[in-house]
């Protein structure tokens, strides 16, 4: 079958985009961002590889290709700030500092999973680090996050709330309603939209008219910007500005970041060959992999060498192996667990 035409092209500056942001940052900080993205990639790859063994009986939505947004965004947050996500939880959970063992236990349906095997991949929560909640219903977490921002504002807490949403999430009425309320009350919230151009297998242009998502958001009466989603530094910078505005009581911000998922909407592997998007489109985006281009930049700037990368890879691999072994050795829930927490005490 002939490939489809390319619909969505990368519009950023790739590696040329880093210099502007990197100059003022300490090397450890930059390397830390790289490590964080690489770690998420390797964890996702390990999940993907082992998924076929059928030990993780949970529907997964991988973030491979979208590491720059989760990491850049969370790098602008404090421990006390809260993150709410949709079904695509892995990136946000890990970038916010969620526990890897508890995540893998959850994916393996073990009783010591981060939510006791009740939620699986779509419901990764670690409240200790501000990974506050998720929803498997698209748009479901948006008003919840808005409510969290209302609570922070009313209680006078120095806390900003971020919600990671997709392009299709902006089509849900509740998202408009939440933006309206957040703008109305000047709430300390950042709506961070990862525009990966597809909702499952439906492209953006059969779902939305040709106007930008940013412009749509702006019409709700809030600050809105676009950012290159494969540039972790640009994402971090845009989120920092939005968070600073929220902390200063200047209200919500909407950020639109164009990114691409390198894998299928759900499950392991890519599904471009089924014909809903061009294989060449995915390949063009893979050429601007957020990790590879940042790594290339750091190397050319003399901040990262082969030995350092090898050491990083080794540590990450050890951590992943250990966490998988831990998960696989963990106990399953029993029937007595089923009816717990239907009601709060």
């Amino acid at each position: 079958m002939a490939d489809r035409p390319i619909r969505y092209r990368y519009a950023g500056k790739a590696a040329q985009g880093f210099q502007r942001f990197a100059a003022s940052k300490p090397p450890e900080f930059l390397i830390g961002l790289y490590r964080s993205m690489l770690r998420i990639r390797r964890i996702e790859e390990a999940i993907e590889r082992r998924y076929r063994e059928d030990q993780m009986k949970t529907p997964i939505h991988l973030v491979i290709g979208q590491e720059g947004t989760a990491v850049g965004c969370c790098a602008a947050l404090r421990h006390a700030d809260l993150l709410y996500t949709s079904h695509r939880t892995h990136g946000g959970y890990l970038a916010k500092g969620g526990d890897l063992r508890a995540m893998l236990c959850e994916m393996h349906c073990r009783v010591n999973g981060c939510v006791g095997s009740r939620g699986g991949s779509m419901h990764l929560v670690d409240k200790r680090v501000g990974m506050a909640g998720t929803s498997a219903i698209v748009g479901g977490a948006v008003p919840i996050a808005t409510g969290a921002a209302l609570a922070a504002q009313m209680k006078g807490e120095d806390r900003v709330v971020v919600t990671l949403i997709g392009d299709a999430t902006t089509e849900e009425g509740v998202t408009s309603e939440s933006l309206n309320f957040a703008a109305l009350r000047g709430l300390p919230i950042v709506f961070f939209c990862e525009n990966n151009f597809y909702s499952v297998q439906s492209p953006l242009d059969v779902r939305q008219p040709p106007r930008s998502i940013r412009a749509w958001a702006e019409s709700h009466g809030m600050a809105a910007c676009t950012v290159d989603g494969v540039n972790v530094l640009a994402v971090r910078e845009a989120t920092s500005a939005a968070v600073a505005r929220a902390r200063a009581g200047e209200g919500p911000t909407f950020i639109e970041a164009e990114v691409y998922r390198f894998r299928a909407h759900g499950g392991a592997g890519d599904d471009s060959h089924t014909g809903y998007r061009a294989v060449a489109e995915r390949e063009a985006w893979e050429a601007v992999c957020p990790i590879a281009i940042f790594g290339g930049y750091l190397t050319s700037a003399g901040l990262l060498g082969d030995a350092a990368v090898a050491e990083m890879e080794g540590r990450i691999a050890d951590e992943i192996d250990e966490a998988f072994a831990f998960a696989l050795a963990s106990p399953y829930p029993t029937e007595a667990d089923l009816l717990r927490h239907v009601y709060a005490e």
Binding site: R118, A136, I137, Q201, V206, Q208, P333
Partner: protein
């Protein structure tokens, strides 16, 4: 073939004539019903998220857009409430939309239109407007679907006057009930259990309708009556086979339509067996189990030799992990055990 001749005069029958029809899959039967409806009536529309994507709504919509065009078979924005209202508005003005959902939970976003608008207009305007629309949803447990992707919403809808709800259990009924639903001048919900999608059965090729509001006896027995619909019939039949090996003869009544309920088929069977066990894939509380149980108490009281039994989900949200799922979902042995209990009572 114009709608009013082709389908109005089409056969209305309970089961295929022996010798008529071919063995085909449940999904194929739905596809055939949609094809017949689109072909015979230009006012029929098929819409829903991903109806034209490579997975084609479990395959039920495969090929329809190629054959009937983008204007009549189309993908939608991720806007369930709006699209439900759009369907109702189009139905009120001469169209017959079939709005499809791949999970029941997504219908919940549209309850305002489905509950408070679509089934009310005909009553509210004193019969001037009709709302001939079909809301189709794949329901039931998936694999690790958890609390937000497998909710059994049919019970919640039983208390909504003006709605009809059908739940086929065989490919034959999937075709015949869908055609009946599309022809009906009211909003009709068609709920198809995910676990039935891969079943095969005999399906006549020509157009026919299975009457809405009429149940069918799937198995004769003198000792007790097992009542249900959809996938519960398969479980009930398995339980009946287990019981038969112990000398207990269970009758299995397939409701096919859960609203309006075929009261007489239940009461007539109860009159003969004296024992009633209601089985549902939803919560036992407040749904089909509760309603049929109440029917027996109200109108079959004198026939009851034992208390009414019900087998449904416990009063807890669905867990995602597979061990917890096993404790949560009823199976044939559990139904058989409940039946033995009624025999002892």
């Amino acid at each position: 073939m114009p709608w009013d001749e082709g389908l109005v005069n089409s056969l209305v029958y309970d089961r295929p004539d022996p010798g008529e029809g071919r063995v085909m899959s449940y999904v194929g039967a739905i596809n055939e019903a949609l094809t017949i409806a689109l072909d015979s009536d230009p006012s029929v529309l098929v819409l829903g998220q991903g109806v034209d994507d490579p997975s084609a709504m479990f395959g039920t919509t495969r090929g329809l857009q190629d054959r009937f065009g983008l204007r009549r078979v189309f993908d939608t924005p991720l806007s369930e409430e709006a699209m439900m209202g759009v369907s109702a508005g189009a139905a009120m003005n001469g169209m017959r939309p079939v709005y499809m959902h791949n999970r029941p939970d997504f219908v919940l976003l549209a309850f305002n239109q489905l509950v408070t608008h679509a089934p009310k207009f005909h009553f509210m305007d004193n019969g001037q407007t009709t709302v001939p629309m079909v809301v189709w949803a794949a329901i039931g447990r998936g694999w690790g679907s958890g609390a937000q992707h497998s909710q059994a919403i049919h019970g919640m809808l039983l208390g909504v006057p003006g709605l009809k709800i059908v739940m086929p259990s065989t490919p034959h009924d999937a075709k015949g009930l869908l055609l009946a639903a599309i022809m009906d001048n009211n909003p009709v919900c068609v709920f198809e259990h995910r676990w039935l999608m891969k079943k095969d059965g005999v399906v006549p090729e020509r157009p026919y309708r299975v009457p809405i509001g009429k149940g069918i006896c799937r198995r004769r027995g003198r000792d007790l009556t097992i009542v249900g619909a959809s996938h519960a019939i398969e479980l009930g039949a398995q339980a009946a086979a287990l019981l038969a090996s112990e000398g207990i003869e269970a009758e299995v009544i397939d409701l096919r339509t859960i609203k309006p309920l075929d009261e007489s088929i239940v009461l007539e069977s109860l009159h003969r067996t004296g024992r009633l066990l209601v089985v549902d894939t939803a919560w036992a509380t407040g749904g089909v189990c509760a309603e049929v149980g109440c029917l027996a108490a109200e109108k079959g009281f004198r026939d009851l030799k034992a208390p009414v039994g019900r087998v449904g989900l416990p009063d807890a949200p669905a867990p995602a992990g597979f061990t917890l799922e096993q404790f949560y979902y009823p199976d044939a042995p559990r139904i058989a055990e409940a039946a033995r209990g009624l025999m002892r009572a």
